[in-house]
Symmetry: C2
Subunit: 280 residues, 2 copies
Amino acid sequence: MIVLDEEQAAARAWFETLRDRICAEFETIEREAGSDACFGYTPWNRDDDPEAKGGGGVQGLMKGKVFEKVGVNVSTVGGEFSGEFAKTIHGAAENPSFFATGISLVAHMANPHVPAVHMNTRFLVTQKRWFGGGADLNPPLPYEEDTRDFHAAFKKACDENEAGDYPRFKKWADDYFWIPHRKVHRGVGGIFYDHLEGDFQANFALTRSVGEAFLSVFPTLVRRRMGMTFTDADTVQQLEWRGRYAEFNLVHDRGTLFGLKTGGNIDAILMSLPPVATWA
Amino acid sequence: MIVLDEEQAAARAWFETLRDRICAEFETIEREAGSDACFGYTPWNRDDDPEAKGGGGVQGLMKGKVFEKVGVNVSTVGGEFSGEFAKTIHGAAENPSFFATGISLVAHMANPHVPAVHMNTRFLVTQKRWFGGGADLNPPLPYEEDTRDFHAAFKKACDENEAGDYPRFKKWADDYFWIPHRKVHRGVGGIFYDHLEGDFQANFALTRSVGEAFLSVFPTLVRRRMGMTFTDADTVQQLEWRGRYAEFNLVHDRGTLFGLKTGGNIDAILMSLPPVATWA
């Protein structure tokens, strides 16, 4: 059982509302494609773990006709980081207590012309309090028009908030979503930001705008591409590309590491992995 | 260009000979199944990397009817470990120079009744000189008979060598091939040993016996199972199981980490990944 202060409760409420709106929109897209696929929701909690202060989350998962596999997780957890890990977390070196609430979304799409996507925003409290997050587009078959629209949506979200800094956040995504052992980017980028502390209201407003930007642009891209025909060769390319995606998430992704190190729910943490991937 | 001393040259020659014999036997199995699949060999070298002292290897890869994807790599490399990484390697904390020669094999099989397998033996030289290696069986659909025969072959290899210690090496494999975030073993085990230093001839003899044990038992298991019929449900189980295999290799495997940290050939390092894997 964890007790939330006013900021923590406000952040959690936003992440849960955003989840509801995104899932409803994705189910609407499935209807438009003639499918009756729905999200299934699986709650999990850490209250039976004596080393955790508790909390938990809800893993949302849909396997549809357009969305081959899409996971939307919200979680709100508290506890203490283990010793060595605490030293790597902002504000936790002296005191390992933490609170975290956030939303995390990964969509792997059936049609290789439709981009896959990742979005995650979160509010962390250690001896510091900050927001972090971002979104990045992962098209197996990239279209310049889609990349441009995706970047434009997040530029607008940054530009209309005093806490936003688009050039810095875009570069951060370019630097972060990089697979060093392959020397390639994971996708075509987006924005990434972290340790946004200080003015809670300003940082929270940016984080809400990032969520709204996602909700506006991604369904547009899906509807633009979901009816396109594709070949076996397109699918081969998609599955190879998903192998790179899995490599990034398992070898480099800090969110995955955070989940594994803090005793999160393994199915929720690894829902980011593609439904099918190949290594030639 | 690296210059080998007598022990290094002897170890390398053994690994290359073992590779030739294993690849010939696997190709014979393909013939028995009516396939004309052969290994293709891709050499790579580090001589153009100014930070490496050089060396390289040969990546052998076959995609056949029985062996859906099998990689057999030999490599012989020298150089200096990077600072932080050196501290994690036996005998390299004070002086980061190293030499390594070894064979590494991973076979992913088309028929889910046929076990996948991993085998790797190596000779390392830092300020210490040692052999390491092992083999473990990874059946998507385990058979007690196969597990028993596999373990018996490596027990015999250990028992007939003074450097062998089967109970210890078997437990080492059980401890090593463990996926902590899933709380399951990667497969049904085998043997694992490392830092076997001191008597070069005795340790080399054990390492040769381990190679002979592999060459004797694994083809037997393949021939026992390769003709069995299998269902779609068997394949579903095989592909999910391969997801766990990929997770282990990308998150935990020290050999994979060693390769990525020492600038090895990325295709050779990641040849261990399954041809197709799923995450439900």
